[in-house]
């Protein structure tokens, strides 16, 4: 039994399809990359799994199973319990993902598993774990005193502190300075390895995927284009779109080579194939 199993999941925005029959499997201790351009539906997939879809977006078909339990069939309260216990999110924008009116400590402490003896100490331990300097002081402060990178670290700490089984990282580095990006990426991989969670890594950056992911799902226009092991996809992309995407990505091993944008003709053809307007 896989940790997460998404079965032909379809989402609709008031009649307009948003995701079409998406299948995805994530095993425990695996980092599964989900890549695609802006609008591909990758973040929406993450939100569907977490059950935090926007108000107008509804699940039209499919199932999301966590350790075999179909989350969609659960009563909202039971589902929230699952969320609290087994899943966590590392959000895209650290600047707006922390409540400006609550202290870091308060926002971290509330995710700690039930029965944590010394919440205060545990929070500081987690802040240390994500390498935030002078953690004791930071714990007491409000988010606005922290830099973007610091905030993202705090959010990562929050994601792992609840001891979840599945962490969904929604483009966790996009909003950060390039210099910080690498550190944060390292941190995520490190924590994942230590805790053994399954991690769904949503990004538009194949480069990043290549660095940390075990498997990759390429999405476009709300559907899955290609799913493969990471090394396979990087080296032998099967689908034309994946190839184009790959060509548009700067690769450390192909330094100096010019980048090819994804050809519009290809996109148009794919849209035609999808059969909607």
């Amino acid at each position: 039994m896989s940790l997460l199993q998404v079965d032909s999941l379809s989402l609709g925005l008031r009649g307009t399809p948003v995701l079409r029959e998406v299948n995805l499997i994530i095993e425990a201790s695996e980092i599964a990359g989900v890549v695609g351009e802006s609008g591909a539906g990758k973040s929406m997939l993450g939100k569907a799994i977490l059950g935090v879809l926007p108000r107008d977006v509804t699940v039209t078909a499919g199932a999301i199973r966590l350790n075999g339990t179909d989350l969609l069939a659960l009563h909202p309260r039971a589902r929230r319990a699952f969320l609290k216990r087994d899943m966590a999110l590392i959000p895209q924008d650290p600047l707006s993902a922390l409540n400006p009116c609550r202290t870091i400590s308060a926002q971290l402490a509330e995710v700690l598993p039930k029965g944590t003896a010394d919440a205060k100490m545990e929070v500081i331990r987690w802040l240390d774990a994500v390498r935030i300097p002078s953690a004791t002081k930071v714990a007491k402060s409000f988010p606005h005193v922290l830099s973007g990178g610091m905030r993202q670290r705090a959010l990562i700490a929050a994601a792992f502190a609840s001891r979840p089984k599945l962490v969904i990282a929604d483009e966790p580095t996009t909003a950060l300075d390039v210099t910080v990006q690498k550190d944060v990426l390292h941190l995520i991989r490190e924590l994942q390895r230590e805790t053994g969670v399954g991690l769904m890594f949503v990004t538009h950056d194949l480069c990043v995927v290549a660095k940390i992911c075990h498997s990759v799902t390429v999405m476009h226009g709300g559907r899955v284009i290609e799913q493969a092991a990471c090394t396979d996809l990087i080296n032998r992309p099967a689908h034309a779109y994946s190839q184009a995407l790959l060509a548009a990505t700067p690769r450390p091993d192909h330094a100096g080579q010019g980048l090819e944008p994804v050809p519009t003709a290809l996109i148009e053809r794919m849209i035609a194939e999808a059969g909607d307007g």
Partner: protein, 334 residues
């Protein structure tokens, strides 16, 4: 410390400005207290005599200087109408007004918070629209019209509700202060408290409804905005229920703009007591103000205007402090 001194200085400066303006305006108003006192058949001599008696025979600047000198010793003069020191009258009436304002604000806060939170929590279009509509209506009907509507409704449908005064003069109690409501509550006289509330609820509601609508508009908007933030989504992923998120995450952030806008509205509420008190025969400072204007009781008007001004200034100060306290970004960068 320096900040405190500057604040106090600016309060005094503002009050001084208010006093000059009102003093000059009042002396340009046709009709004076002397004319009000003159009986049929009084001669010019009688008039001159009375003017001298009330110090109205001097030039306006001279009158102002004399008045200001007395005010420095907290002597606001004698009311020509009540023949008592202005200060004493104001201290006597102010509690009634403050209690009314307090109750009205309380009603406004409870209503507006309840409705805003309900609307954002339910997240149902029809409910949101209904609450928006109600708030718009409550705001479009000015307080004195509400009062009018309530008084009419009471005579038609609920004749047992009182529409005048603070309590039934036939049944009264021993009060050490003029804060009847608070005192009855503190001394645990609940029967008296309930009776007092019965008298206060309609004028307070008339005053409070437009304020409630105003707060609702701001708070609901701010809550909606807060609910669209990422930290709310993150909180959802922490398994929190929607109500818990509205109350625990969004409300605190939504409070900040709400506090800033409410203080302005609160001053309108207090200004509104002038009419509402008259309509409900509430023995506060507002109804006293109107009777003072009608009777050209200049010292009393001056005193009351200054008291209103001081209250407004203090409310603004308080809201500034509250605003600072509510927003951690301001708290630490001070």
């Amino acid at each position: 410390m320096a900040r405190l001194l500057v604040t106090i200085g600016s309060i005094f400066l503002t009050l001084l400005g208010v006093s000059v303006v009102i003093f000059v305006i009042l002396r340009l108003v046709p009709g004076d207290p002397i004319s009000m006192m003159l009986p049929p058949g009084a001669t010019d001599e009688v008039r001159a005599n009375l003017e001298r008696l009330y110090g109205l025979d001097k030039s306006i600047p001279a009158q102002y200087v004399i008045w200001l000198r007395n005010v420095a010793w907290l002597d606001f003069g004698m009311s020509t109408q009540f023949r008592l020191p202005v200060m004493e009258i104001i201290l006597d009436r102010l509690p009634a007004t403050l209690e009314l304002v307090l109750l009205a604000s309380l009603i406004a806060l409870v209503l507006s918070f309840a409705f805003s939170i309900l609307a954002v929590w339910l997240q149902v279009d029809s409910a949101t629209l209904a609450i928006d509509g109600l708030a718009g209506l409550a705001q479009a009907i000015p307080d004195f019209l509400w009062a009018l509507i309530f008084i009419l409704a009471v005579t038609l449908f609920a004749p047992m509700m009182p529409v005048s005064g603070r309590f039934d003069p036939r049944t009264a109690q021993d009060f050490a202060t003029n804060f009847y409501l608070l005192e009855s509550l503190v001394t645990l006289r609940f029967e008296a408290f309930a009776e007092l509330i019965r008298y206060a609820v309609l004028p307070a509601l008339a005053l409070g409804l437009p304020l409630a609508a105003g707060i609702t508009r701001v708070l609901k908007g701010a809550l909606e905005e807060a609910m669209a933030q990422d930290y709310v989504m993150l909180a959802q992923t922490k398994g929190k229920s929607r109500l818990a998120i509205v109350l625990g995450e969004a409300l605190r952030n939504a409070m900040i703009p709400t506090i800033a806008l409410t203080s302005v509205q609160l001053t309108f509420l207090i200004g509104g007591t002038v009419l509402i008190e008259r309509q409900f025969s509430w023995p506060g400072i507002g109804s006293t103000a109107i009777s003072a204007v009608i009777n050209r009781d200049l010292p009393l008007i001056q005193g009351i205007v200054l008291v209103f001004a001081l209250i407004f200034i203090l409310i603004n100060l308080a809201s500034n402090e509250l605003y600072r306290a509510a927003d951690p970004r301001l708290r630490t960068s001070r």
